[in-house]
Amino acid sequence: MRFRFSLFLLLIWTSLLTAQGTTPPVEIRDLRAVPRDIADEAQRVINAAGTRRVSGDVTIPPSQTLNQDVAVLSGQLVITGQVTGNVVVINGSLVVRGSGRVSGSATAIGGTVTTVAGGQVDGSTRSYPEHVLVETAQNVVVVRDETEDERWYRNRMAPKEGSRSELRLVTAKTYNRVEGLPLLLGPRFFKDFFWGRLTADAMAVLRSADQFALNSETLGHMLRLELQLGGSRGIRIAGRLNDVVAPVEEWQLSDAEVGVASFLLHRDYRDYFNGHGGSISATGFVGKYLDATISWTDEMWAAPTARDPWSLIRNGQDWRPNPVLDEGHFRLIRVGARFDSRNDVDDPWAGWYASADYEYGIGNITAYGPTSRAIRDINPTGRNNYDRVMIDVRRYNRISAEGQLNLRLVAGGWLSGDDLPLQARYSLGGPGSLPGYDFRQVMPGTDYLTCAGTSPEGTPGGPRTPPGSPAQCERFALAQVEYRGEFGSGLFGLLDQQRRRFRLGWGRKAEWVVFADVGRGWLVGPNVADLQYSAGSFPDVRTFRADVGLGVRLDDIGLYIGKSVTDPHTPINFFARLQPRF
C-alpha cells in the first residue's frame, strides 16, 4: 500500500515535470499591443534588400504589379493593383480595394487592414492598432516599443485615431452689457483618424445678465460639426447652428479687452445684435501661416434688449445704450484669406500679417434701426443687397535688440449695391483705433469718426445721433505706426524692481511706446461736405484725423495716453490695453 502510494506520487510529479518541459509559457498580452515576434517579422520585411520601402501615403494603381514585398512607414497604403509578396504598414493603414490583390500576408501595425469592393489578401492578415516607434539608423529600420513617457505624451498631447468626449463649461471669454458673462455648457466630441479629425460641439449659451434667468433672451445655442482633412496642411469643412449675441466691429479690440473694460470700468467698446441661423464653411490652410476660407451664412438678425450687468466700478451708472441695429433676414457669402509670418503671434517683433475679407449680403430688412439724418436711403420693400471688403496689413520690424518699429494699414467698406446695414458699418475713435478721440465720439460739424452728419443739428426736435451712437460710416481708412523700446537699466530699471517687489512682472522688461495714428470714416454717395464721397473717390487727406501718444508696457498690460493733433481742443485720453496695440 505504501509502495503504491509512493509510485502514484512519483507518477504525478513526473507528469508535472513533463508538462512543464513541453508546454511553453502562456503569453498574456494587451490585445492592442504588438507582439515582439510580429514586430521583428515586420522589421525583417522592411529591411530586406528586395523590399520596396516607402514613407507616407501611397497608392498602387490597377495597372501596376509589384513582384516583391512592400513596406510603408507612417502612411496609408491603398492597393488597387497587384502585390505578389507580403505587405507591411507601420503606423498607418492598408486598404485593398476593387481589383487589388495581395498574394502574401498583410500586416498593419498602428493601423488597420481593410479589404473593400472585392479587394483580396491571399495570405494571413494582422492588424494592431497600437502605435509603435520607428527609428532609422544607417538605412536600417528598427521598430521598438514606446516608453512610458512616450506613451503618455502621445495619449495626452498627440492622440491619433482616438476619440474623446467631454462635458465642457467654458466662458465665451468676454463680458458685455447685453449678455453679462456668457457661459457655454455642453458636450464636445472629437475623433481622430489617420486622415484628419472630426469635432462636434453642442453648447448651450447661458447669459448672466439677468441672473441666469432661463428665457429666450438669456439662452442661446452654438452647435458645430467640423471635419478636418490633413494635419499641418489640409482642408477644414464646418457647419454651425447659432443663436448668439454677435458683436459689431470686432477688429478694434480683443474679446478679453472688451470683457475687462466692461467688467471693471463699466465701458463696453462694442455694439451687439442677435444672430440666429446657420453657416457652412470650407477653409484651406498651410500650417499657421496661410489660410483661406469661403462660407455661406443664413441668419435672422434681431436687436437685443438692453440689460444692466454688474461692474466693479461705476456700477450705479447707466451703460451706453446698445444701438438698435437693423432687423431682418440675411444670407451672406464670405471669402477671406490670411497670411501670417510673425515670429510670435502674441508679441510680434518681425514679420508680416495680412488679411483680406470680402462679404456679399443678400437680405431683407424688416425693421430699420434709427440713424442720423440723411445717412442712408430706406428701401420700402426692405430688400438689401450689398458687398463690402476689409483689409488689414501689418509689418513688424526689429530695429535693434531693444526697439521695434511697427506699421499697420487697415481699411474697409462698401463696394457696391444698396446701403450697408448698420451691422456692417464702421467707426473710428477709442483705444482700438484713434485713441486720441473718445469711443463713438460725435464730432461737432462734420463727424469724421462715426459719420453722424455734417451739422451740429439733429433731426428737428431730436438728437443728432441715435442712442448709443452707432457706427454709421460706409468706408474707413486707418494708418498706425508705433515705436517700442525697452527701458534701460538706469533710472527706469527702478520700474522693473518695483514690479518684481510687488510680483507684477513675469520677466519681461518694461517697454516704452510712442505711437501715431491717422484715419477717418466716410459715407458713399454724391459728394456732401467732406462726409460723403462718390464711390470712386477718396477723401482729401487734410480731412483725416490724427493723434499721437505714448505709453508704458508692463508685461501684458500697456498704459497709454493719446492726444489728438488735428483737433487741439480734444482732451488727453488715458487708456490701457492687455496686448500690443496691433
Binding site: 516608453t147 512610458e148 513617457d149 512616450e150 503618455w152 505624451y153 502621445r154 495626452r156 498631447m157 498627440a158 465642457r168 463649461l169 467654458v170 466662458t171 471669454k173 468676454t174 463680458y175 458673462l181 474679446d255 478679453a256 470683457g259 475687462v260 467688467f263 466693479l312 466700478i313 456700477n315 515670429n343 510670435d344 502674441d346 508679441d347 517683433w349 518681425a350 520690424n397 526689429r398 530695429i399 535693434s400 535688440a401 518699429l405 518684481r500 517687489r501 510687488f502 510680483r503 507684477l504 512682472g505 513675469w506 520677466g507 519681461r508 522688461k509 508685461d555 501684458d556 492687455l578
Partner: protein, 210 residues
C-alpha cells in the same frame, strides 16, 4: 459692499510678500566657441511655487514651451537668422508617486525622458538645469544676439477645473484674505481668457571674430 470686498481682495493678493522672481537666463559660450555651440538657457523659479506643486499633484501637467531666436543687426532692420523650439512636460505619476519630466522636440518627433523624481525639489532641480540650445551663431561680421521666450501653462486646466479648485479651496491656504484674492483674481482672469504666463530674456550682443 461686494465691490469693496472684491477690490480689497484683489489688492491684498497684489501686495503679497515678495517671492523669488521667475526668470530665464542665457549663458553664452566662450568667444571662440560661439559658432560651434549654442548658448545655454536656464529657467529659474518658474514652477517652483506651491501652487504649481498642488496642480501637478492634482493631475494637471505643466508645459514649458521654449523658443530661442538668433538675431543679427546690421541692416535697416535686424534679421531673424534661425530659431529653435522645444517643450518640457512635467507630470505626476500618482501610482508611482514620482514626478516625470520629458523633453519634446520637433512637434513630437523626439521624446526624451529627463527622469523620474521622488520629490518636488529634485524635479525642480532637473527642470532648472541649463539646456544647451541648438542654435549656433552665424559666421558674419554683424552683431548678433539671442532672444529667449518661455511660455508656462498648465495642461487641461479648464475654466471648470479652475472653478472647482477654487470652490474646494485648493487655490490658497493660510491668509484667507489673500486666498480669496488670489482665487477671485485667477478665476476672473481665466474667465476672461486674459491669462498668459510668459518670460522673455535677451543675451548680450556679441560679434563673431572671423
Amino acid at each position: 459692499m461686494l465691490r469693496a470686498v472684491v477690490i480689497a481682495a484683489l489688492l491684498a493678493a497684489g501686495s503679497l510678500p515678495a517671492q523669488r522672481q521667475p526668470r530665464i537666463e542665457f549663458t553664452l559660450p566662450a568667444p571662440a566657441a560661439l559658432t560651434k555651440e549654442g548658448p545655454s538657457l536656464r529657467a529659474l523659479d518658474v514652477i517652483s511655487d506651491p501652487e504649481t506643486q498642488s496642480l501637478l499633484q492634482s493631475g494637471f501637467p505643466a508645459r514649458l514651451h521654449y523658443r530661442v531666436e538668433l538675431w543679427s543687426a546690421g541692416g535697416v532692420f535686424d534679421a531673424l537668422r534661425s530659431r529653435a523650439e522645444w517643450d518640457v512636460f512635467i507630470y505626476y505619476d500618482a501610482l508611482g508617486k514620482k514626478y516625470r519630466v520629458i523633453r519634446v522636440d520637433g512637434d513630437g518627433e523626439t521624446i526624451t525622458s529627463a527622469g523620474q523624481f521622488g520629490s518636488f525639489a529634485e524635479m525642480i532641480q532637473e527642470v532648472e538645469r541649463p539646456t544647451r540650445v541648438p542654435v549656433r551663431a552665424a559666421v558674419q561680421r554683424s552683431r548678433q544676439y539671442y532672444i529667449g521666450v518661455l511660455d508656462v501653462s498648465s495642461l487641461s486646466l479648464t475654466d471648470l477645473d479652475e472653478v472647482e479648485r477654487w470652490l474646494r479651496g485648493d487655490l490658497g491656504k493660510g491668509n484667507p484674505g489673500s486666498a480669496l484674492g488670489r482665487g477671485i483674481r485667477r478665476v476672473f482672469v481665466r474667465l476672461l481668457g486674459a491669462e498668459r504666463r510668459n518670460l522673455q530674456t535677451r543675451s548680450r550682443t556679441f560679434e563673431v571674430k572671423e
